[in-house]
C-alpha cells in the first residue's frame, strides 16, 4: 500500500504547478465572467428598470416588469408555442436520429460515410439562409412542394401563411435541419457498445431485434437523457429559423419566446429593453429549470445503473 502511494502520479513540485493551474484557468474565468456572468447579472439589473434602450433615462421599477410579464398573454402564448415545439420535435429528433445512427453504424452498409455527410450537411448550413430558402420551397404560388402536390391532384397548401400549418412547417424544417447533430450524438454513443456482446448474442442465436432490445437499448439508456437535454436546449434556440421563416406570424402562431423578447427589445414601435430583459430572465429561469430536471434524470438513471 505504501509503495502504491509512493509511486502514484502527482505533482512533482506541487506549489509551482498549482500557480500555473490558476494562470491557465484565468482566461476561461475572465471570458466566462465577461460573456456569461456579467451579461446575466446585467440582465437582472436591466429587468428592474423602465428603460427604452435610448438615452440615460432609466427608472428603477423593482419587480414591475415581472408583474407585467406574468399578466402578458402574448408572453405566455410564446411560452406555450416554445414548449409545444420542444414536446413535438425533441422525441421525433431523438427517435429518427437513433434509427439513422443504427443504420449508418452498420459496417456493411454501402456509402455509409457519404450518407452520414449528407445527413450532417443541413447542420452546418446557416440557419437564416435555410429559413429564407424554405420560404421559397414552401411557397404556395410557385414552390416545388406545392407544384408536386398539384401534380398528384392535391390542392395547394399555404404552409407558412396559414396559422393552421405554419408552426408544423417550421417544426418539420427544424427537425430536418438539426437531425444530423442528434445522429452524430447517437453514433458516438453507439461506439461505446462492445462489439463482443453482439458477437456473443449472435452465437446464442439472438436476431437483430433482440440484439437491439436486449443489448443496444439498455446500454444506450444513460445517453438518452444527456442527448435529450442537448436536443431540448438546441430546440429552445430556434430564434433564427422562426424569424426568417415566419417572423413569429401569422397572427402569433409561431411566436416563440426568443422572438417575442427580440420584438420587445428592438422591433416594437416603442422598444422596451427593461421589459425585454425581464422576459429574458424568466426564459433563462425556465431553461435552467428544464435542464435541471433533465440533469436530475441523468443522475437517477446513472444511480440505477450503478445499483444494477
Amino acid at each position: 500500500m505504501a509503495a502504491t502511494i509512493a509511486h502514484a502520479p502527482g505533482p512533482p513540485r506541487g506549489r509551482r504547478v498549482s500557480r500555473w493551474v490558476y494562470v491557465f484557468v484565468l482566461p476561461t474565468l475572465v471570458l466566462f465572467g465577461m460573456y456569461t456572468i456579467w451579461p446575466s447579472v446585467s440582465s437582472i439589473f436591466y429587468s428592474m428598470l423602465e428603460w427604452r434602450g435610448l438615452g440615460v433615462d432609466r427608472t428603477f421599477t423593482g419587480l414591475a416588469n415581472y408583474e407585467r410579464a406574468f399578466s402578458d398573454p402574448l408572453f405566455w402564448g410564446s411560452v406555450r408555442v416554445t414548449v409545444l415545439v420542444i414536446v413535438v420535435t425533441v422525441p421525433i429528433r431523438l427517435a429518427a436520429a437513433l434509427l439513422l445512427a443504427i443504420m449508418l453504424n452498420n459496417p456493411r452498409l454501402p456509402l455509409a460515410r457519404l450518407l452520414r455527410t449528407a445527413f450532417f450537411i443541413p447542420v452546418v448550413a446557416t440557419t437564416a439562409i435555410v429559413g429564407i430558402v424554405m420560404g421559397f420551397v414552401l411557397d404556395p404560388s410557385s414552390g416545388p412542394v406545392n407544384a408536386a402536390l398539384e401534380l398528384v391532384g392535391m390542392p395547394a397548401v399555404d404552409f407558412l401563411g396559414s396559422s393552421d400549418t405554419a408552426l408544423s412547417s417550421v417544426m418539420v424544417v427544424h427537425v430536418w435541419k438539426w437531425l444530423g447533430i442528434t445522429m452524430i450524438y447517437w453514433l458516438a454513443a453507439l461506439q461505446t457498445v462492445p462489439v463482443d456482446l453482439y458477437e456473443a448474442a449472435a452465437i446464442d442465436g439472438a436476431g437483430a431485434w433482440r440484439r437491439f432490445t436486449h443489448i443496444t437499448m439498455p446500454l444506450l439508456v444513460p445517453f438518452v437523457v444527456i442527448i435529450g437535454m442537448l436536443t431540448v436546449v438546441e430546440t429552445m434556440q430556434i430564434f433564427d429559423l422562426v424569424l426568417t421563416m415566419t417572423g413569429g406570424g401569422p397572427f402569433f402562431s409561431t411566436l416563440v419566446t426568443e422572438v417575442y423578447i427580440y420584438q420587445q427589445a428592438f422591433a416594437a414601435s416603442n422598444p422596451n429593453l427593461g421589459y425585454a430583459a425581464a422576459l429574458g430572465v424568466l426564459f433563462g429561469v425556465f431553461t435552467v429549470l428544464v435542464v435541471g430536471v433533465m440533469l436530475l434524470l441523468v443522475r437517477l438513471v446513472r444511480g440505477k445503473g450503478a445499483d444494477a
Binding site: P27, R52, G53, L54, G55, V56, D57, L74, G135, D139, P140, S141, S142, A156, D158, L160, G161, S162, S163, T246, G247, G249, P250, F251, F252, S253, F266, A267, A268, S269, N270, P271, N272, L273
Partner: protein
C-alpha cells in the same frame, strides 16, 4: 529543427494575449477602423440615416458644404429594421453620430425633453423658405429649430400600381385617377379568372404597412382622423370630433371588409400571406399579379431593380367606395436630427440649411422616393411618368390633417409614455384576412379601448411629472376630411 521550450511557448502566448488586449483597447478608443464608428466630437461629420435612395441628393449637399468648409461628411446608411438598434447601441456607448434619422420609436418632443437632440441655426434663405412648413412641437421647440421637413405630408402607401396590359384586358381604364371599390373588385376578379395571373399581390407579412393601408382606406371611406405627424402609428391616430381612438368606426370596418372581400374573391396572390412589401413588389413585377398597393417610392424602386417592367406600369389613387375619397396625414416630421453630443454644430446647421434649397428638392424628386416637401418641383424634374402621376394624385387627393402634437407638444410626452398595444392594427388585419379573428368589430373595439386606457394611464404619468396636457388637446371639432388643417387654424 529547433524545438521551442515550454517557457518560450508560455512567453509567446503571454505576449500574444497582451498584443490582443492592446489591439482591443485601440479599436475601442480610436474607433477609426472596422465597423466601430468614431466618436462624434472630432474628425468627419458623421451622418446616419436609412434613406438609401437619397444617395445622390444627399451627396450633392455634402459636396456643396465640403467645398466651402474645412470638413467632410461620412454617411452610413442602415437598413430601416436595424437603424433603431444601431442608435440604441450608439447611445449606450457614447458613440452617437452628429446627425441621425429618428427610427428610435421615440417622438421628437421626448427626444428634446431627454436632451438627445439639439437645435440648429438655419441660414436666412432657409428660414424664409421653411417658414410655412415648420410647426411648433414637430420641428421647432420653444422657437428653436431642430429639423426641417424634406418630404411632403401629401402622400400615402396605398396607391394602386398596375400592369397596364392586364388592366386593359380586364376592361379597366389605365388613365383613371381613381376607382370605386366595386370597379376595383370587378377588375381583380376578371384578371384572376384568366388563371394565368393573380389579381393582386399584398404584403400581409408586413404588419406596419398593413396598418398604413387600413388607415388610408378608412379615410377614403370617409373616416376623418387627426394624426400627430405624417407617420402612421395607431397611438397617434384619433377621431378629431371626439379625441377618442376610433379604429372600430364605420370607416375602418368598411375598409377591412373591402380588403377581406378581395381575399374571398380569390383575387389575391396566395403567397401574399407570407410576403413583406419588398417580396410582394418583386412577385408583382415578375408578373405573378396585376395590381400592387404601394407608396410613390415604387417608381424609384422599379427604376432601380425592375427597369424593364417600369414602362408597363400605371398608377391610380387608392380605391374608395365612390372613387372620390380623400386621405390626410399630419405635418411631415423632420427626417434628420442633430445629436446633442455633436461637436459639428455649425456644419450641421449649414447642411440643414442646404436641405431647404430648391436644388435639393429637385434632386430629391429625381430619386423618386417620398415626394419632396415642395411638390411643384416634380414637374421640372427628370422623373418617370408614373412618379409624376403619383404626385398629381397626391396634389388632388391628399390633405393636411390636424395634429394634437402641434396643438400641445406635451402630447408627444404622452405618446412616448404609452406602451404598444398588441395585437396592433396591422396584426388585427392579418388575423382577420387569415381567419384567426372571426369578429373584426370586437377585435377593433378592444384595440381602441386598450389604446384609450393606455393613453389615460400615460396622461396621468406625464401630468404627475409636470406636463400640462389633457384629452381636450385631441379634439378638433372644426375639421372636415378633404380640407387642410394649416398652421393658422390652431
Amino acid at each position: 529543427m529547433h524545438t521551442p521550450s515550454r517557457r518560450m511557448v508560455l512567453g509567446g502566448s503571454a505576449a500574444a494575449v497582451l498584443a490582443a488586449l492592446a489591439a482591443c483597447s485601440r479599436s475601442s478608443t480610436s474607433g477609426s477602423s472596422g465597423s466601430t464608428p468614431p466618436p462624434a466630437s472630432g474628425g468627419a461629420l458623421q451622418w446616419w440615416d436609412h434613406f438609401e435612395p437619397l444617395e445622390g441628393a444627399l451627396q450633392g449637399i455634402f459636396d456643396t458644404w465640403s467645398s466651402g468648409a474645412d470638413g467632410e461628411v461620412e454617411r452610413t446608411v442602415y437598413n430601416p429594421n436595424e437603424m433603431g438598434q444601431a442608435l440604441q447601441l450608439a447611445l449606450g456607448s457614447d458613440q452617437m453620430p452628429d446627425v441621425f434619422s429618428n427610427l428610435t420609436g421615440i417622438p421628437t418632443p421626448a427626444l428634446v425633453a431627454r436632451g438627445l437632440i439639439s437645435p440648429v441655426t438655419l441660414g436666412a434663405d432657409a428660414q424664409a423658405s421653411t417658414s410655412a412648413s415648420l410647426f411648433e412641437g414637430v420641428h421647432t421647440f420653444d422657437g428653436d429649430v431642430y429639423s426641417v421637413p424634406i418630404f411632403s405630408h401629401q402622400q400615402h402607401s396605398t396607391l394602386a400600381w398596375f400592369d397596364v396590359e392586364q388592366l386593359e384586358r380586364a376592361g379597366g381604364d389605365p388613365e383613371a385617377a381613381t376607382q370605386t371599390w366595386d370597379e376595383f373588385r370587378r377588375i381583380l376578379r376578371e384578371i384572376g379568372a384568366g388563371g394565368q395571373t393573380a389579381g393582386w399581390a399584398w404584403n400581409i407579412a408586413f404588419d406596419g404597412r398593413l396598418q398604413e393601408q387600413l388607415v388610408d382606406l378608412a379615410q377614403g371611406a370617409g373616416q376623418a382622423l387627426a394624426l400627430n405627424t405624417a407617420g402612421v402609428n395607431p397611438a397617434d391616430i384619433t377621431d378629431p370630433s371626439t379625441g377618442e381612438y376610433v379604429f372600430h368606426g364605420e370607416g375602418f370596418l368598411q375598409a377591412l371588409e373591402f380588403l377581406q372581400s378581395l381575399v374571398t374573391d380569390g383575387a389575391m396572390l396566395p403567397a401574399s400571406t407570407s410576403l413583406d412589401a419588398r417580396e410582394a413588389r418583386a412577385r408583382w413585377a415578375a408578373g405573378e399579379a396585376a395590381v400592387f398597393f404601394d407608396g410613390p417610392w415604387n417608381s424609384g424602386v422599379l427604376a432601380g431593380q425592375f427597369a424593364d417592367f417600369l414602362p408597363r406600369v400605371g398608377v391610380t389613387n387608392m380605391p374608395t367606395p365612390d372613387g372620390a375619397g380623400y386621405s390626410a396625414r399630419g405635418p411631415s416630421s423632420g427626417q434628420f436630427w442633430q445629436s446633442s453630443t455633436s461637436g459639428h454644430g455649425e456644419g450641421v446647421s449649414a447642411l440643414f440649411s442646404l436641405l431647404a434649397t430648391p436644388e435639393f428638392a429637385q434632386a430629391l424628386a429625381g430619386n423618386m422616393d417620398q415626394p419632396p416637401a415642395d411638390l411643384s418641383v416634380v414637374a421640372g424634374a427628370d422623373v418617370d411618368p408614373t412618379y409624376s402621376r403619383a404626385i398629381e394624385i397626391f396634389s388632388d387627393w391628399c390633405r393636411l390633417a390636424p395634429s394634437p402634437l402641434v396643438r400641445n407638444p406635451g402630447v408627444g410626452a404622452v405618446i412616448a409614455e404609452m406602451e404598444e398595444i398588441r395585437p396592433n392594427l396591422g396584426e388585427i388585419v392579418q388575423g382577420c384576412v387569415g381567419g384567426d379573428i372571426d369578429d373584426p368589430q370586437t377585435a377593433l373595439k378592444t384595440f381602441s379601448d386598450a389604446l384609450a386606457a393606455e393613453r389615460d394611464r400615460a396622461i396621468d404619468v406625464v401630468v404627475a411629472a409636470g406636463t400640462e396636457v389633457s384629452l381636450d388637446d385631441w379634439v378638433f371639432t372644426d375639421y372636415e376630411l378633404g380640407t387642410d388643417y394649416s398652421a393658422d387654424r390652431y
